[in-house]
Assembly symmetry: C2
Homo-oligomer: 317 residues x 2
Amino acid sequence: MSERTIKLFIHALLSEENKKFLRGRLPAGATAVFLDELTGPARREEFARADYAYGNPPADWLEGEDIRLQWVQLYSAGFSEYQQLGRSIPVSNLHGFFARPCAETVVGGILALYRKIDELTLLKSRKEWIGSALRARMKLLHGKKVILLGTGTIALAIREILVGFRCELSLYGRTHPEARFRTKQELLAALPEADILINTLPGTVKTKGFVSADLLQAMHPDAIVANIGRGSTVDEPALLRALQERRIGGAVLDVYAQEPLPVDSPLWNCPNVILTQHTGGGSAEEERGKISFFLENLSRVLAGDKPLNLVDLRRGY
Amino acid sequence: MSERTIKLFIHALLSEENKKFLRGRLPAGATAVFLDELTGPARREEFARADYAYGNPPADWLEGEDIRLQWVQLYSAGFSEYQQLGRSIPVSNLHGFFARPCAETVVGGILALYRKIDELTLLKSRKEWIGSALRARMKLLHGKKVILLGTGTIALAIREILVGFRCELSLYGRTHPEARFRTKQELLAALPEADILINTLPGTVKTKGFVSADLLQAMHPDAIVANIGRGSTVDEPALLRALQERRIGGAVLDVYAQEPLPVDSPLWNCPNVILTQHTGGGSAEEERGKISFFLENLSRVLAGDKPLNLVDLRRGY
């Protein structure tokens, strides 16, 4: 095959700054086409001519007989929308990329509940000083019993942070060597003692609704639930009932059964609930970091090596 | 001296539960009189008959020639209101008691700023989803350069927590062996590189206005300031100007020049400012813990030992 240009399709809305950053670092002989510089059917047509793609294109674009795509680097960790693909194009995700920001959002949310930073924010907006009246309702994260569902990069980043709070931490995972709980029965037996349940499970067929009514029922009335995994892994109506009936003490929710969270969701009105609107993975350096990862991974592919973070679309992780 | 009843004066408003807790644990032969069970001049009269006191009575009560008080256990760490006393009654404070809750409030406040939990709380109150639009403005505490002013129990509790965030941490203190900065000049030279300045200094004549206009001027525009020490140790008008002119990126303030914070303070309107209303030391177990400390310390006094946490009123710590 004669030497030809490598065509990249960037299915992401990048700032001019980040486009420039990417263009300045393209491999020799490569050109990049950006989603927002095309309109209508030209998008799909250009996509069909691309060798490699960055971003999360519509799943059906990957089904076309006409495409010559050899690899996609998603800009997310999740990839459930691609799990039903008939064709097997290699797909990499951003596994691990969001661990630190997600861990900080979930610990920040828990501290906000314990130290009443949500209430203090609302008081500030009303210029209302209540001060010491809040003190007796404050809690400490120090020494709390925490159960982490999942043993991936987010769970391990949370674990590292919680050491400084001297929390008593246990992992739930089916295969991780350090997991204390391996079955739902073991988990159910331990939950009455837990102060905090943090869900980091990925969205798969097996984890759907994992945080179920019976798990929530086992928790004590001061316990809090955090979800930084996937919305599908929590039985949201059951969680809502537990919150409304004060059978648990609060929640920190980054992900939801439906996103954006519908305006009529009763979660908006629940006290002691922090809604972080699926921003957990965000950071000012996020786009730049993702592009850098794509470029590094692309250089592996071009060198004939296996890219990092190849996902198994059938298994779901 | 013939055996007589030991009289305790409790200058604190305790819940019935905590009164019962205290009464159930009094030393043999001791009786307790509670502030809220007396009215008018009877309060001062009963105080004059007490051998030991718990709480923070008006400073001039300790000046009377008629009192027979031998020791006071304050329910605060601060004791500046007693520094001008002419008489030298032994006074213990609650040094160290508030370290953990204060550390959690300040780290929770910093995470709230970095992970936008204040904005997300206001969005929740309006049922408004903006989600990913916030992501590019989020920051990570991970790896940040932090300078801690002070080397007391609060500073060391904060240091322990920040290990899990892999912050690069330096202490400022005149005498602590681990302090990296010992003079204001050394501090000024280091500040341009700092991401977070956390003030835990006690309120003394020497620390008044320590966080001054020149310190704030040295900081970069994304840097944030936290104050969990004393309001007097920060030049509040200079801090306000730095915030309003966006010369610093935000603040977490637990203490203020005047408390309650006056309703016309421009701090109420400053974005990127978390006001925790002097609740930093609070926790649900706070009153119970303070009473337990008093009872333990009282048993030392009654055994003829020196009580813990005796303060030097002249030096101020």
